[in-house]
């Protein structure tokens, strides 16, 4: 079945088997391997991408369901202006160790900041509670997302 998904601003048209998962399509079809796979039960969240701006676990969506929609992966975070504030903050605050959960964590963080420019510790923890991390104990991930929110707010002139 032919589908067209806009991934990180570029249309990708492909003929896919209806049963292919979106995550497999992103990784194998589009060749964007920053989106990871960590479980079989929609539990770990390392496959999270943004579909029309909303975090979605791409292991639990079929590629065909994303036809005609906009998908953002970690590879789409950086812009011509450089790193997204969330990327800078994850590095500055040591919000990653092995880095396997990181792309998804950053996307969820970026979506949260879009909705809530100054999330509290609890609000960040709730927002990322669908995403596991086995390395960091979350403390620095929370710090990084809050630091990114502060950086985004100040670059928007209201911080």
């Amino acid at each position: 079945m032919e589908i067209t998904i806009n991934i990180n601003g570029t249309d990708h048209t492909a003929d896919v088997e209806p049963r292919w998962l979106l995550v497999d399509h992103i990784r194998t079809g589009a060749g964007l391997t920053g989106t990871h796979i960590g479980c079989d039960t929609t539990s770990c969240g390392v496959c999270t991408v943004l579909v029309d701006g909303t975090p979605v676990k791409s292991c639990t969506m079929l590629a065909v369901q994303a036809d005609g929609r906009e998908v953002t992966t970690v590879e789409g975070l950086k812009s011509a202006d450089g790193l997204h504030p969330i990327q800078q903050a994850f590095s500055d605050e040591h919000g990653l160790q092995c880095g396997f959960c990181t792309p998804a964590m950053m996307l969820v963080g970026a979506a949260l900041i879009d909705e809530n420019p100054a999330p509290s510790d609890d609000e960040v923890r709730w927002a990322i509670s669908g995403n596991l991390c086995r390395c960091t104990g979350y403390m620095n991930i929370v710090k990084a997302i809050q630091a990114a929110a502060a950086a985004a707010a100040s670059s928007n002139g209201d911080g």
């Binding site: 990784r27 920053g34 990871h36 923890r125 596991l132 086995r134 979350y138």
Partner: protein, 785 residues
């Protein structure tokens, strides 16, 4: 914070919180994890696993699977046996089935493998492999396994007449028994440290690329120990070692899970060899949880002999471990229960005796050191839980009881009752500092007031001592390979350097911290040093990263090789300055003649001269390699204080505060050290509160996915307050001790002690991990509270 920095930030030596160089690729999605590797013509493999725990295999029908579009081959045990590969040696001297031929011995055991052109076709094929099982009763506890008349699990093993996997004992039994006979008080605790699983978010996997023309085997593999794995591949598969190249790419967490060699690796390699195309196998999460290296599963009874004043005189331990179907612990050969004998902990007493047995059961094998230096987690848990029990039984405050028994700072180096020689420590200072930060006295007062109102508040303490950095070659080997490690340093003419390591990061930040060690020792800025690791063709030999050995062994090798380079550079500088080498001193980044700091040569100048302008008789170049054989283990320690509120109606407990003081010696990169502690504390919390693998009576694994095997999310995870003291290791070149596992080792007892402390006045002395609300509620209920 204790400041141990000696270099300016531009150089970024030891003590600087240098930002990690690995981050640049990882935050842009440019990491190169195993599953990201795609080779031309690559095939995909799916495993067929046993759905039952114990059964005889009467036949395997592969016709339907072979008929699936895209399926190229179905590999069974019979085919592997034809190549002498149906069984493989384990890291503990046992053998393990690669693909089952006679029986399956645990749920999830590998029975067949389907090779196909894409992963969906491979999975379709695996569904259709039809195995005829003749069911046998499952043995699911080591107690059942060792009972009279139990069926023999390892009936294929010559000379095996029962289900005993090993026995081991250490210490002085007679002296210990005598101390117990004469003791004022004896306190005992029986507890189970449940089976847990490291479950890194990236599962295990391999891309095996065996070129049938050249014989070259390039193996990409999620490996914490690529060099050791290369040697084992050579020995198991009979491939010439120079033709095996193991590349361990970015690793999405290891925690011990990626130390063993798993059947899937062997089958994929054999399939690539037979088919002549690269074969990829990436484990499913369920495959990971039900078949690969678990941790713990020790049933322990510990006893302390004490005086009425609470001075410990001896310790006695009787232990039974559940090994699963094959004895495949990853641990030093000499020690059948790892380093469990560090269980005398932080306390000064003369006698101990430890006796262990391990039993085969119909469960997955593994026994890896899950974020732990070979069973030290269990050991530390037992002694720290016993201290709580003794405090409650003797009516002595648990902090006071520890202070009365601590090894004192002036007693180091201190030889324990089981023969470890602790390198350095100041335990009373550490504990007092942690207690002060927690506000211990106020907390005790609050606890008393709360009890009067019927509220339950608990304060848990744990003071652990770890033994890490295996290890000295006279004592430590795995499968005969001495546990040394290495570093090679090449300084180029422009003064930029490449450091090659025998160890391998899985997120600990080696590419940053090891460069800092070189910066410290040579003055080359850390940002000018590229660290290479994980590729056996391109790095010197080493036993890998686990058991917190990277910093104690690989870090020491790095410091030593950097010193060799710095020394040669000093000789070159002397030549350039026309002075005697003895008169040359080094600042952070310059060599100068003693007393004349203006006459200086930079390390970069010396590097250039190493290729252009050498003193007579000196060999060109500026590179070297060091193999480091550590003189001793290192002994990091810490004092943890946890405060919990327990709801008496539901048994739910919440961590109000977690104060963690760690002393890991000199901190190379404080930011990274703190990150390691955060992660370790979280895993300690996980094991104490929710994370375990259990089985039903038929041997079905409960905990085979992340819906049943609960690992904490950000929502449940407590906030941590970190403290430190710095007591350098006297025998480590830069005084570092290693930290990656400390918090996982030390914290479970602190959490459990806190819950037990909340209920101590009701007479509750123990709740086994995980301390689930229903267990707490039951403890309260049966205590009549």
């Amino acid at each position: 914070m204790t400041d141990t920095t000696t270099t300016p930030p531009e150089i970024g030596g030891v003590g600087h919180s240098v930002k990690r160089v690995e981050d640049a690729r990882l935050i842009e999605g440019q990491g190169n994890f195993l599953d990201d590797i795609a080779l031309p013509g690559m095939l995909h493999m799916a495993l067929v696993r046993s759905p039952v725990a114990h059964a005889r295999i009467n036949g395997i029908d592969t016709d339907a699977a072979t008929a699936v579009d895209g399926v190229l081959a179905v590999v069974t045990g019979e085919l592997m046996a034809a190549h002498g590969l149906a069984w493989m040696p384990t890291l503990s001297g046992d053998t393990q089935a690669v693909l089952a031929t006679d029986k399956v011995r645990y749920q999830g055991q590998e029975v067949a493998a389907v090779i196909a052109t894409d992963p969906y076709a491979a999975a379709d094929g695996a569904e259709l492999v039809d195995v005829d099982y003749e069911m046998l009763d499952a043995i699911t506890t080591p107690q059942q396994s060792l009972a009279e008349g139990a069926a023999l699990i390892r009936d294929e093993k010559e000379g095996q007449t029962d289900n005993l996997a090993y026995t081991w004992e250490t210490g002085d039994e007679a002296a210990t028994d005598a101390a117990f006979a004469g003791a004022d008080r004896v306190v005992s605790l029986t507890t189970h440290y449940p089976r847990s699983h490291p479950s890194p978010l990236e599962t295990c996997g391999i891309v095996a690329d065996v070129n049938s023309v050249t014989g070259q085997a390039t193996i990409y593999m999620t490996s914490q120990a690529p060099h050791a794995h290369r040697t084992l591949f050579a020995l198991v598969a009979g491939l010439p070692e120079q033709n095996i190249r193991i590349i361990s790419p970015d690793i999405g967490g290891g925690f011990g899970n990626k130390v063993p060699i798993y059947p899937g690796y062997v089958v994929a390699t054999a399939a690539s060899l037979l088919i002549g195309q690269p074969v990829k196998w990436v484990e499913t999460r369920t495959g990971n949880l039900i078949s690969t290296g678990f941790g713990r599963d020790y049933y322990m009874t510990g006893e302390l002999a004490l005086t009425n004043e609470g001075r410990i005189q001896a310790m006695r331990v009787d232990m039974l471990s559940d090994q699963g179907a094959f004895y495949s612990d990853a641990q030093p050969t000499r020690y059948r229960a790892g380093l469990f004998h560090v269980c005398t902990g932080s306390y000064d007493f003369p006698h101990a005796h430890i006796k262990c047995r391990g039993a085969f059961t119909n469960k997955a094998p593994g026994g890896v050191a899950y974020r732990c230096s070979f069973r030290i987690t269990e050991a530390s848990y037992l002694i720290e839980r016993l201290m709580q029990t003794a405090a409650d039984e003797l009516g002595i405050d648990p902090a006071e009881l520890r202070l009365r028994n601590f090894i004192q700072p002036e007693q180091f180096p201190y030889e324990t009752a089981t023969g470890f020689v602790y390198d350095s420590g100041d335990y009373p200072t550490a504990l007092r500092k942690a207690l002060d930060a927690a506000g211990y006295d106020e907390l005790r007062a609050e606890q008393a007031a709360a009890r009067a109102e019927g509220r339950l508040v608990g304060i848990g303490i744990a003071h652990f001592t770890e033994a890490v950095g295996a290890g000295p070659a006279h004592t430590y080997d795995i499968a005969g390979l001495k546990m040394i490690d290495s570093a090679e340093l090449r300084v180029h003419p422009t003064g930029k350097a490449i450091l090659k390591l025998g160890v391998k990061t899985q997120g600990q930040g080696h590419e940053t911290t090891f460069a800092q060690i070189v910066a410290e020792e040579t003055g080359i800025p850390a940002t000018d040093i590229k660290v290479i690791h994980g590729d056996t063709d391109d790095t010197p030999y080493g036993l890998g990263t686990y058991a917190s050995r990277s910093t104690p062994v690989g870090g020491a090798a790095t410091a030593m090789v950097a010193r060799k380079i710095a020394d040669k550079a000093r000789h070159i500088a002397a030549h350039l300055l026309e002075a005697a080498p003895e008169d040359i001193e080094r600042d952070a980044d310059k060599f100068h003649v003693a007393g004349s700091p203006d006459q200086a040569v930079s390390i970069q100048d010396a590097a250039f001269a190493a290729y252009t302008n050498l003193p007579e008789g000196m060999e060109y170049g500026l590179e070297d390699v060091t193999y480091y054989n550590p003189p001793n283990l290192t002994f990091p320690y810490g004092s943890y204080v946890v405060v919990v509120d327990v709801d008496p109606e539901t048994g739910v407990w919440k961590v109000r505060r977690m104060v963690a003081l760690d002393d890991c010696g000199v901190r190379i990169n404080p930011m990274i050290v703190e990150g390691q502690i955060h992660g370790g504390l979280t895993e300690g919390f996980a094991m104490s509160s929710m994370q375990w693998i259990t089985f039903d009576d038929d041997g079905n694994c409960i905990g085979s996915n992340f819906m049943d095997y609960l690992v904490p999310t950000a929502w449940e995870t407590p906030r941590f307050e970190l403290l430190e003291t710095v007591t350098p290791s006297p025998h480590h070149p830069i005084g570092a001790k290693g930290v990656g596992e400390s918090a996982t080792v030390g914290s479970p007892a602190a959490f459990v002690n806190a819950v037990v402390d909340a209920l101590a006045h009701l007479g509750v002395r123990n709740i086994d991990m995980p301390v689930l609300p229903d267990r707490v509620w039951e403890a309260i209920d049966s205590a009549g509270g």
